[in-house]
Structure formats: C-alpha cells, structure tokens
Symmetry: C2
Subunit: 315 residues, 2 copies
C-alpha cells in the first residue's frame, strides 16, 4: 500500500496510460481487473463514443478505472458531464492548463491527476488542487515536453518540487524500471507502450506487430516546431524529418501532418502514411501479451529486484 | 563487492568520468581516495601533459585510478605507452572502435573499459575482449549517441545484449539514481557532471557556477549533423540552434564550431563564446562540494534508498 494505491483504491500502483486509438474499454478493464488502474483514452473519442466505452468498461470490471482527457480537444464539458453521470470519478487530464478544470472537478468529487513534464507545471498542478501528477520523461511515446528531460532526471526534480504523489512515465515497461522509478521517488508508474502491444488494445494489429519488431533507435522525438511528439520511424516520419532538416516552418510541418494521421496509422494500420506514436521502450518489447499477464509479470519482477537490490553491500 | 569493485579493486562502484578540461589529477585522486575510481581525462591533453598528470595523481593517491582516452584524437600510441611506463593499467576508451586497441592493451595487462550508447557497440566491445562497458544515455553531457536512447531504456537493453558488467552513465548524480541504475541491471555508475562542480575539478570557476545555477531545460543535445553533443545553453548554443533551425549543413556548423571552443568555455571561462559540455542532471546540482564528500553522500543515499525500497509491499 502507498499513497497511489490508496488514492485510486487499487492493488498495484500501475496505471495504464490513456492513449488515443489504443486504449478503449477492453484494455482499461483488463488492467483494472488485474489490480492496476486502467484508463480509457478519450482523446480520440467524441462524447457519444466515450459514454459507450465507459458503460462497457463498467460491465467488464468491478474495479476502479479512469479516463484520460487531453484538454486541448473540444467538448470537454460534455465529456466531464458523462463521467459525472456514469459515476466514473477518476480523471487524468493532460495537454492543457490544470487550473481550468481541476477545481470544478474536485467540487464534483473527482480524483484528478494531471500529466506534466516539468516542475513549473507540477507546482501549478499542486496549487490547483490536483491529487497526483504523472511526470512524463523524454523517452515516452506521443506528445512530450520541450525541455527533453528524461525520466531519470525528471522524477527527482518533480519529487523535489511538490509534495503530492508522483507517478513516473516514460521508458517503463518492466518491474526493473518500476523499481528504478520508485528509487527516484515515484509512488506509481504509468505505462503506455507495453499495454499497446496486447490483444486487448484497440491498436491495429499491424501497428502492434511493428512495435514488437522495433529495436533501438527506432523512435525519435519529432515535430518539435509544432509540438514535440515521439514517433516510430516510418515513411511519414522520414518525410517529417526531411522537412525539418531543410528548416521547414511550423506551418509547413502542420500542412504535411494534416488531419487524421494518428488514426490512419494507429487504428487503421496504414504504416506508411500514418503517425505512429510510441515510446522508446518499444525496443524492449518483443511479444504481444495479455494485459493482465503484463501486470503480474511487472509486479513479480518488481519483487525480485527488491530482493536482489538489498543484497548489494559496499563497505 | 561486485564485479565492478573487483575489476578495479575499489571500495565503491562509482567511476568519475574522464572529461576534457575538467578532470585532471586533483579530481581523479580525490575520487580514488574516497573509494571510487578517478579517471584523468586525456582527451584534452598532449602526451607530455598526460605524463605529468599521471605522475601527480600517483603521488596524490595510493588507490587505483585510470585514464580516459577518446580514440578520435591523435597520438594514442604515445599515450598508451606512457600509461604502460607509468604502470597505470586502467583505461577507459571512448569515441572510436573498440577493436582497434583492446587486444593490444589486454596483451599488455590493461583493464579496458569502453564507452558505448547502443547494443551493437556493446557486443562489439565484448567480442573485442573489453572488461566492462560504460553505457551512456541521452541525458549525459558532451558527446552522445545518435539513437538518443535514455539511461532508463539503454541499461536494460545493454544488459540483455552482453554478459560483461555494465556501468551506467547519464543522469546520475545521487544515490537514488545509482540505485535506479542498479535496479535496471548496472553494476556500477559513471558520474560526470556532479564531479565537475567540485573544488578539485579543473573547470573554470565561472563554468562551475553556471552548472550550479542551471535548471530544467538548460541543456540540449545539439550539433546532431556533426556529432551529437549535449551543451549548456549559452550564446554559442543559441548560434548553433539558429543555424540548425535554418537547415545548416554539417560544414556550416563545423565552421561555426571552429577550433578550441570547449577549452574556451570550460577551461577559460568564456561563457558566451565557449562550448559548455554538461549533462541534463546539472539541473539537480545546486552547490559545489568536495569530490570525497560527494562519494560518501551518494553511498549513504544508496543505502538509505535500499532500506526504503524493500518496505514497499503490494499484495
């Protein structure tokens, strides 16, 4: 037990990241049933779909689960109303200002977590009344911080700047990495990439296969002039990279990106033209595995490393 | 005791990075006297100066110390001859091919460590007969790998690919981070930035001050078209960044870089025009401190975190 398991009333301090196109009710309920906290990724859902997903998730698990809502999209008020109506009271907000929604959500009895990548925003979260922060390092997939601070450096920095519990994200897909994050001061971990490579994730099978086959150096932080995002290297990535190398403007990059690239790649499996968001740790993922097994394996390895690490003695 | 303390015959598995302009005999002997392994950074020394530094270091400590020799510079044969003559038999090679020198050095009885940033080179090191590798993550200062793999992801990858011991580098300046590295599979840590901010380092006082004052986002991996190097943000960095943003070629960047930029900044204290190489972890360094105290503090914190981490129980 720690502050994170108590906050969410869960068994293990493992949060499955709410990811666009990849984390619907099947994945979220599988993780929650295994003792972690599953999150439905609402960033790629309109309010109607979100309600449907939430209802299905409630049928699939009796354990707590939550919803990730990136604040940069529209119709947030409708989405939060649905969560209120459906009595799903754990929300992870991201990609926006924690001051805008937190006090409203807290008044309605929500548990509110916000995703950050630097101390300034962590302090802002704490002042806004957020219950915990997810601190996301440079190695994480998808949208990322401009400072490029890695998990190893970020977690101690965030723990120094706030007193609310810190959930580490970025580069974590194993019990070893979970223990490393705890050594750095985290009280929970948020895991994304590892849960995309599961039968329960709604990612396209071809995208899952590409994750399993990815190795070192196969992802790169890109599109920095628009907003940094970590991509798996494919034809689309190479087009972006060429433009960036030639000194392209944010407008030119936005024009290339266009609309619907992430859906095309991650949901529809167009591996050439799609935007494939995934973490650097995909290089360490070598097979698809059910989400529940992943949770159990991570916890087993966490305990094994605990036992191993205390044996080191340097006098 | 572990494979790293036995390999070097030292008390603590802490290696002080051999850094150009910053790590002469004063720093190396202070770290070795404190129970770690000090390294003289020969990259910025001609053979004559190296011999002088080695002799002074031998007078200042009875404990083992070593020398870092970046293979991309000239007169390596002379430098290795000096080490042989002076009976300093620990060498850390970097920035080059481990196959070129390792067998020669091993035949002469050297302990050989090589610095790498990906599994391919780690395997190459092992095949060449290297005794241990330093695996250096994206967050490390100075020259860096093209894959941009962070310490959190890199260490498990390297440990999976070789059986020789792995020394973790990049983002490590505390006992917490050391324990995190051990959880990931490392058996030693190489620490650079933290030891630059000591009275014993030969860095210019103004550079040391700038490290102490640095905070999040104040370093950035730069000059990727020539060879990636992590720099502290100053006027020179901003010039580089502008050129890169405009799509400058490697030649244009090399012309801007010119000769002697690192010396100008790090040794001579020209904070505007110099090239200031330092790690991302500088954001966590807030005061100058004697190298020996740093070693003791890291080991104390390592033990404290060991005790704390075993108390986590999730059932």
């Amino acid at each position: 037990m720690n502050r994170i398991t108590r906050l969410f009333d869960i068994r293990y301090p493992i949060i499955q990241a709410g990811m666009i196109w990849c984390s619907g009710w099947r994945l979220a309920s599988a993780v929650s049933n295994a003792g972690g906290l599953g999150l439905i990724g609402a960033g790629s859902m309109d309010p109607g779909l979100l309600r449907e997903q939430v209802r299905k998730c409630k049928q699939a698990t009796n354990h707590p689960f939550g919803v990730n809502i990136p604040l940069m999209y529209e119709r947030n008020d409708e989405k939060f109303s649905i969560l209120e109506e459906e009595n799903v009271k754990i929300v992870v907000t991201s990609a926006g200002n924690p001051s805008t929604w937190t006090h409203i959500l807290k008044d309605q009895g929500f548990t509110v977590v916000h995703v950050i990548a630097n101390s300034k925003f962590a302090v802002k979260c704490q002042n806004a009344g957020v219950d915990a922060v997810v601190a996301e390092g440079f190695e994480a997939g998808g949208h990322n911080g401009r400072e490029e601070t890695t998990t190893m450096v970020l977690i101690p920095q965030i723990c120094k700047s706030v007193t609310i519990p810190v959930i580490a994200a970025g580069g974590i897909a194993s019990g070893k990495a979970m223990l490393a994050a705890f050594a750095l001061g985290a009280e929970g971990v948020q895991i994304g990439s590892r849960f995309v490579a599961t039968p329960e994730s709604s990612a396209h099978p071809l995208f899952k296969q590409m994750i399993v086959e990815a190795s070192e150096g196969d992802t790169m932080l890109s599109l920095k002039r628009i907003g940094p995002v970590r991509l798996l290297k494919n034809n689309f990535f190479r087009e972006v990279h060429q433009l960036e190398d030639a000194g392209a403007s944010a407008d030119e990059l936005s024009a290339l990106l266009g609309q619907g690239r992430a859906k095309k790649g991650m949901l529809e499996g167009n591996l050439d033209e799609g935007e494939l968001e995934i973490g650097q740790v995909s290089g360490l993922i070598s097979e698809l595995k059910p989400a529940g097994e992943i949770v159990e394996e991570i916890m087993k390895e966490f305990r094994d490393v605990q036992t191993k690490i205390i044996q080191y003695s340097f006098k």
